[in-house]
Each structure stands twice: as C-alpha cells, then as structure tokens.
C-alpha cells in the first residue's frame, strides 16, 4: 500500500494567507509576541513530511512481513503482528495530527465571517 500521494502534502506552502494578519498584529501592537513567520510554516511542513516518511517506513515494514508470512519465510509470527500494530497506530496518529491542524486552520478561516 503506497501513500505517496499524501506525501505531496509535505510540500505544503506556509500559510501565506496569514501573512497580512501577522503584519497587522505587528503594526497595532509592537509588544505582541512575534507570530510564527514563514520559517515556522516551513518547519511545520518539514515536520509533516518527516512524519509521513516514518509512517511510510512502518507501512513498508508491515507489508514486507505480510509477504514473508504469505510465502512461508516468516520465522516469528509476532513480528508481523507487532509491525502491523505499529503501522496502524502510526496511521491513527498521523490522521489525528492532520485533523488537529485542519481544525486549527478552519478556526482561523472562520474569523473573517
């Protein structure tokens, strides 16, 4: 199972729509904590990309062990079960992080209404 398509999300651009907001905050109140600039956005993108790469690795491990089980080369039954469990947990975690990020973005988008 390949999830390369999701990997492209890793290249997500920093939230450029927020830049005017940051500028506005800086002009109205100079004492406000400097909001996360484009650099922080890029870091978040990298973080997401790394997380997806690790998820891809766990999925590959589980897939390889599944093939070994099917072809009779698997020496330890639990190796596959553990790899599949880890892959399932990693997927759940990635989806949870994705949902949280999406919720935060939606919350910010609602501010203009």
């Amino acid at each position: 199972m390949s999830i390369d398509a999701i990997g492209s999300v890793g290249g997500i651009a920093p939230l450029s729509a927020l830049s005017p907001l940051t500028a506005a905050m800086n002009t109205t109140d100079t004492n406000a904590p400097t909001a996360a600039g484009p650099a922080a956005g890029a870091n978040f993108g990298n973080m997401v990309a790394q997380g997806l790469q690790k998820l891809q690795d766990t999925q590959n491990t589980a897939d390889n062990l599944a093939v070994e089980a099917a072809t009779g080369r698997l020496t330890d039954v639990h190796d596959y079960i553990i790899a599949a469990t880890e892959a399932s947990l990693a997927t759940s975690l990635t989806v949870a992080v994705r949902n949280k990020a999406l919720d935060a973005f939606n919350e910010i988008m609602r501010m203009q209404a």
Partner: protein
C-alpha cells in the same frame, strides 16, 4: 528510541521466549537419543538472555548465546540395544523431563505476558491518540 517504544521492547521479549520454547522443544524431542558409549550424547540447549540497556540502546532483551549441556550424558544398561557396548551400556542425554516441562511452562507464560504488554501498550497509545476527540 522509537515513538511506540513499549511495543518494540515487548516484541524483543516475545522473540527471546519463542527461542526458549524452541530450545525446550529440541531438548524434549531428543531426550531419548541413545548413542554408543564411545560417542557424545545429545547436548541440551539452554538460551541465555541478556538485557539491552535502556537509554543507550532501545531497551528490551536479546539472546546472547546458547549454552550446551554435558556431552557425557548418562549410561543406561540396555544389552538388547544393537549399539550397546561390550558391557551392555548405551549413552542417553542427561536431560530431566520434569525440569524441561517446568521451563516450558515458564517460557509459555512469559511469552504470553510479553504479548499482553504489547496489547496493553497498543490500548494506551490509542487512548493517547483519542485525547481531545469528540
């Protein structure tokens, strides 16, 4: 250190006890191997477990090696056995079936315990992922 550490650590334990089960199975399977008194009796296999340091390494346990039993075995008087020597003795491996059965139960229970740790760790991580939902 990986993100789901407890699962991996318990997994190394399952591997070690699987090997212990294999060793006991091998010892029990060969418990009645008779050899001539001039030869070497079957040597029982004993698994030696060793801890992987948590912090430096990933934690968990590995099989450091296999210790072998005494090749001298024990002499049994079986004059009707075709491989018996002039006095009528053959050599059997010096393995105690009761001890092997005890080890079998220990290995089986430890195997199950480690799998239970995997299961509980999975439930715990799932609960952590569920935080804030709904």
């Amino acid at each position: 250190m990986t993100i789901f550490g407890a699962i991996g650590i318990a997994g190394t334990g399952v591997t070690v006890y699987r090997k212990w089960l294999d060793a006991v199975a091998d010892n029990v399977a060969n418990i009645n191997d008779a050899v001539p008194t001039s030869g070497q009796a079957f040597r029982a296999r004993y698994i030696q477990a060793q801890a992987v340091r948590y912090g430096d390494g990933d934690g968990g346990v590995v099989v450091a090696g296999t210790a072998l039993g005494d090749p001298k075995g024990r002499l049994v008087y079986e004059p009707e056995n075709p491989i018996a020597d002039r006095e009528g003795y053959v050599k059997y491996p010096d393995i105690d079936l009761g001890s092997q059965m005890t080890q079998l139960i220990m290995a089986q229970r430890a195997y199950q315990a480690n799998l239970t740790v995997v299961d509980r760790a999975k439930d715990s991580y799932q609960a952590a992922i569920q935080v804030g939902k709904g």
